[in-house]
Assembly symmetry: C2
Amino acid sequence: MPKQVDYEERRLRIAEAVCALIARSGMEAVSLRDVAAEAEVSMGAVQRCFRTKEDMLLFALEHISQRVSERANQRIAATSTPQSAATLLSHTLAELALLDEESRDQAHVWLAFVSHAPSSERLAAVLQETYGKLHDLVAWLIHYGQDTQEIPQRLDAAQEAQTLLAVADGLTVHVIAGHQCPEAASAVLQRHVDSLLR
Amino acid sequence: MPKQVDYEERRLRIAEAVCALIARSGMEAVSLRDVAAEAEVSMGAVQRCFRTKEDMLLFALEHISQRVSERANQRIAATSTPQSAATLLSHTLAELALLDEESRDQAHVWLAFVSHAPSSERLAAVLQETYGKLHDLVAWLIHYGQDTQEIPQRLDAAQEAQTLLAVADGLTVHVIAGHQCPEAASAVLQRHVDSLLR
DNA sequence: GCGGTTATGATGCAAGTGCATCAGAAAAGG
DNA sequence: CCTTTTCTGATGCACTTGCATCATAACCGC
């Protein structure tokens, strides 16, 4: 039996390289050569992992989608010390808004993919699915808050989730566009969550 | 005196072509040749109008920034039949969210520029300025609503303006990403404006 | 007309693109 | 050892890119 290679690991490594490149210099700066250099593999290796460039981008998007979702989910599951539903909600949303320094790259990448969704049906499908999951997550958190009496029953969880997600994404846009600093965005988000309570 | 040409008009024509291309197939599909073809001028003409490609993109961004701002401002100024501050606010925001069919292209273009702002300081500057204007506009509208007693005095106009803008932009993102249809987004926006009244 | 100025668009060019190809390296079984 | 099979990375290729060049065309005051 001949040489065997862990393709999954390499794919991940390449996906990370793609994200780093997008974050650093935008999506149109992503070429197979640059990706290979960034991932410190040869171009041939990249081509072996992904049949086409689009496949590669798609995988990278799936990768960061998964990372974002997972991070939010863990934040909830790993709540050892039981927190109030309100803080859980606001922390989760702050995470989803990708405001902190170390998520900045992911925010760039995410936005880059959104803005290219109209030109690629496959990208659009992944985005749609991820947004669906995030919506369900936020809606669930609101329901939870209603169960603990922190959030008024009269509110429609699904509708409020849409608004909350929109606020989070809008703030991401504002930060990337330089219209707001992350701290101000964080405050706006917090204020809006607070307005749901009471 | 030799041939004279209306450069301003041609620049606008080219800017429109750039926007059409971005909307149709994304920002990395914008090449000087394609722009020239779309604008139905020769490549030489494009090069004469803009020293570099970046200059061209910058002009295109300024163009649509101006269009969006102007449209919102006109909506307000041209209110012959005096409307309630509330409907004025919600209509203006619906316009800013670029939800209707004919603004869809502008939404794509806007988002494309935002996602490239990190790689170009000049683009970022234009975006920042435009966002500043839009914020002031929305804040003014809220103040106006407070003057007419439609919006509670206790609300901080500047803060609510940030949130409203974020909701609008977030919904734009959601529509482009295919997570919501324009009608649903419109409803979310309307609901959030309503929550400010009362 | 004519001269002088400006605009035009075809062409050239070097660099970069995604993808295909293929001689050879590497590894594991015989 | 050698064979067999997988993997590698350099190279080639056709194409596109942004930008520079320049002979020619278009124009207007004279």
